[in-house]
């Protein structure tokens, strides 16, 4: 028996090791070990005041910090019975989409593309494909600047607080950004074409898929959790009843199941559940994919992220317009501090993120609970690797490892999130 370990897998966020046990060319076992040390955000948030919670939980992740900030604010507002204005919701959605542009561009171009171009990193592209690198940085930069426009900086938004915003962009800034987003649609379309042109293995995961779904629009901020195969649709307040977390021996991150099955959350789940609500150019790109429907080939999570880039540019341009024309205020609403329990959920770039908190009479946190997308996906990644690795075990060693790593990277893992 030979054992292969790929320690500290490169181009993923955080520290993880792939562990493969081979007998000849038969795969006996394969799984992902999460060596990232436990971080204890849930106990750390206990005793902090309600208005400090988003500052702490935003630090779960430097990549999707706007999502953790917004999700924890929603949970605190749920606990305190606060309704925020429509304008606040629009600005928060821009923050979420800013992180989509930033995250998806980083994941697709900096983390994933080198696999398909046979490169160790994105940097050699500066010599060989300067146009590709330029496009990557352009989209990523737009995401950062959208987060900066609304939140004050790319990482860890400053202005988003309980009940609203402490500052919002002016109409001229929104107008300029809208034009920039509209000009970026073509770059996003080319991105989808590029990733559609990369060969990915034919593979179908046996998993369930979960994401937020909403009658109003492509769900990232509001909505219930929906299950693609089981067909149910349940309020996020019940998340503890439809997601079970388990401690597994080989990972500092927990695994999750729903109805006893591993499941996937993320761009591929959202596109499957909400494809009818995509904006026109995004819908067109989805319809013209060479692979046809994305189905449950988890390798196609990449191309789904590219589709979402198109959607994000089109949709955020509309949001900018609405903010310019609709008026209203995003100033924090008045509220009373009281005891309560609240749940918040949003779609982070990598999937649904849930936060819940219990507050005492003075607004101090008594208990907190967070389930990140990667913690939900890790069990399914192991299941996918067990199904996929035997199909490529006959390949030369390096190629075999690369294919398994490609599967891992398609999940766009965030391991530091997973051990929050």
């Amino acid at each position: 028996m030979s054992i292969i370990t790929v320690e500290h897998v490169a181009r993923i966020e955080g520290h993880g090791t792939i562990h493969v046990e081979l007998e000849g060319s038969t795969v006996k076992d394969v799984h992902m070990e999460i060596v990232e040390p436990a971080r204890f955000f849930e106990p750390m948030v206990v005793g902090r005041k309600f208005d400090e919670v988003s500052l702490v939980t935003s630090r779960i992740c430097g990549i999707c910090s706007p999502n953790h900030a917004v999700t924890s604010l929603k949970a605190i507002e749920d606990a305190l019975g606060i309704q925020v204005s429509e304008r606040t919701k629009l600005l928060r959605k821009l923050l979420v989409y800013g992180s989509y542009l930033q995250n998806h561009a980083t994941h697709l171009y900096i983390f994933s593309a080198p696999d398909f171009l046979g490169l160790p990193s994105v940097f050699p592209l500066a010599e060989t494909h300067p146009d590709v690198l330029e496009r990557a940085l352009k989209i990523k930069k737009a995401g950062n600047e959208l987060c900066t426009l609304v939140g004050g900086r790319p990482v860890h938004p400053v202005t988003a607080v309980v009940g609203g915003f402490t500052h919002e962009p002016g109409a001229d800034e929104l107008e300029a950004f809208r034009d920039r987003l509209l000009a970026l649609v073509d770059d996003a379309v080319v991105t989808a074409q590029l990733f559609d042109s990369f060969d990915v293995p034919e593979f179908s995961s046996s998993c369930e898929m979960l994401a937020l779904a909403d009658d109003e629009e492509y769900a990232v901020y509001d909505g219930n959790t929906a299950a693609l195969e089981a067909g149910w649709n349940r309020p996020v307040q019940e998340y503890r009843a439809f997601i079970d977390e388990q401690v597994v021996g080989h990972s500092n991150a927990k695994h999750s199941t729903s109805d006893g099955r591993s499941f996937m959350t993320g761009a591929i789940a959202r596109v499957n559940l909400s494809s009818k609500q995509l904006m026109p150019r995004a819908a067109q790109a989805l319809a013209s994919l060479s692979t046809g429907a994305v189905g449950k080939n988890t390798f196609l999570n990449n191309v789904c992220q590219a589709i979402e880039l198109i959607d994000a540019c089109e949709r955020c341009a509309v949001y900018c317009d609405r903010l310019i024309t609709e008026g209203g205020t995003s100033a924090p609403v008045e509220y009373e501090v009281k005891a309560g329990f609240g749940v918040g959920a949003t779609e982070a770039p990598r999937g649904t993120v849930y936060h819940s908190y219990t507050l005492d009479d003075d607004g101090f946190v008594v208990s907190g609970d967070v389930i990140t997308p990667t913690a939900q996906n890790l069990g399914n990644l192991d299941a996918d690797m067990r199904a996929f690795a035997p199909t490529v075990a006959g390949l030369p060693h390096d190629e075999f490892i690369l294919q398994v790593e490609e599967l891992v990277r398609a999940y766009d893992l965030c391991l530091s999130c997973s051990v929050h």
């Binding site: 966020e13 204890f40 106990p43 500052l55 702490v56 630090r59 860890h156 401690v247 500092n252 927990k254």
Partner: protein
């Protein structure tokens, strides 16, 4: 030959490394003057045996972190930390306020054997000597580039010592204490251009304690504005749970 730089992450949210990738406009220029020898976040490949500058993000929370830092210090001529986690222990150091055994049980269940090898969180300078520091949660890209270029030229870069209020006043911001919000600018190290108060949000102390700060006087200011003076200490803990000699 261009100096070889390695970037390593300890316990953190990777936000400061993400900020480095956010230097889009200058990223390629930066790569022109340094040899980026290792950066796990962005590239496959192994840590080289020889390097000149080690850039460290994150707080020290495991025995492996301590060993890694000692190795970095022995090899690199310059060690530079980025971000609050490395500088003060930051948010990870809030775990010092928790009972870690109880925390393991709360997160993983009783008698669980995962996640061992953890030690009490510390800033990097508690373990090894540090030559340059870029504070802040997250770091500011321009400040990072400025400190890196000083490190490359061997120039001194002392951190500013005065509290943030001094800079906030020059921005002509309305004092947030007068608007009924507890702002920690009274005691927090400046250098961020009073970013948060300028956007209407009180300072939360992410750049650490200003050496020139007068905590006693700051408590009195809070009391005079009608706040509980102990809130200064409680709130300042957020990013500064391992500070010593303040009280």
């Amino acid at each position: 030959m261009a100096p070889r730089v390695v970037v390593v992450g300890l316990a953190s949210d990777f936000g400061c490394q993400v900020q480095i990738t956010n230097i889009e406009d200058h990223l390629l220029e930066m790569l022109g003057v340094i040899d980026l020898g290792y950066w796990q976040l962005a590239s496959s490949g192994h840590m080289p045996a020889e390097y000149d500058i080690a850039v460290v993000e994150g707080a020290v929370t495991t025995v492996e972190h301590i060993e890694l830092l000692k190795r970095l210090r022995e090899t690199a001529s310059v060690v530079m930390t980025i971000g609050t986690c490395a500088h003060t222990g930051g948010i990870p150091a809030l775990a010092n306020r928790c009972d870690l055994d109880a925390a393991y049980s709360a997160v993983y269940g009783e008698g669980s054997d995962v996640a061992r090898g953890r030690c009490a969180p510390e800033p990097v300078h508690s373990v090894i000597d540090v030559d340059y520091q870029v504070p802040g949660c997250p770091i500011d890209m321009d400040e990072f580039l400025a400190v890196l270029s000083k490190a490359l030229q061997g120039l001194a870069d002392p951190l500013p010592g005065d509290p943030m209020c001094a800079v906030c006043k020059t921005k002509e911001n309305v004092c947030l204490l007068d608007r009924g919000e507890i702002c920690l600018g009274l005691v927090t190290r400046t250098g961020c251009g009073a970013k948060c108060p300028s956007l209407g949000r009180p300072c939360t102390g992410c750049r650490g304690l200003a050496p020139d700060a007068n905590f006693d006087a700051a408590r009195k200011v809070l009391a005079s504005k009608g706040f509980d003076p102990n809130e200064l200490d409680r709130r300042f803990d957020l990013y500064n749970a391992v500070r010593e000699g303040v009280r």
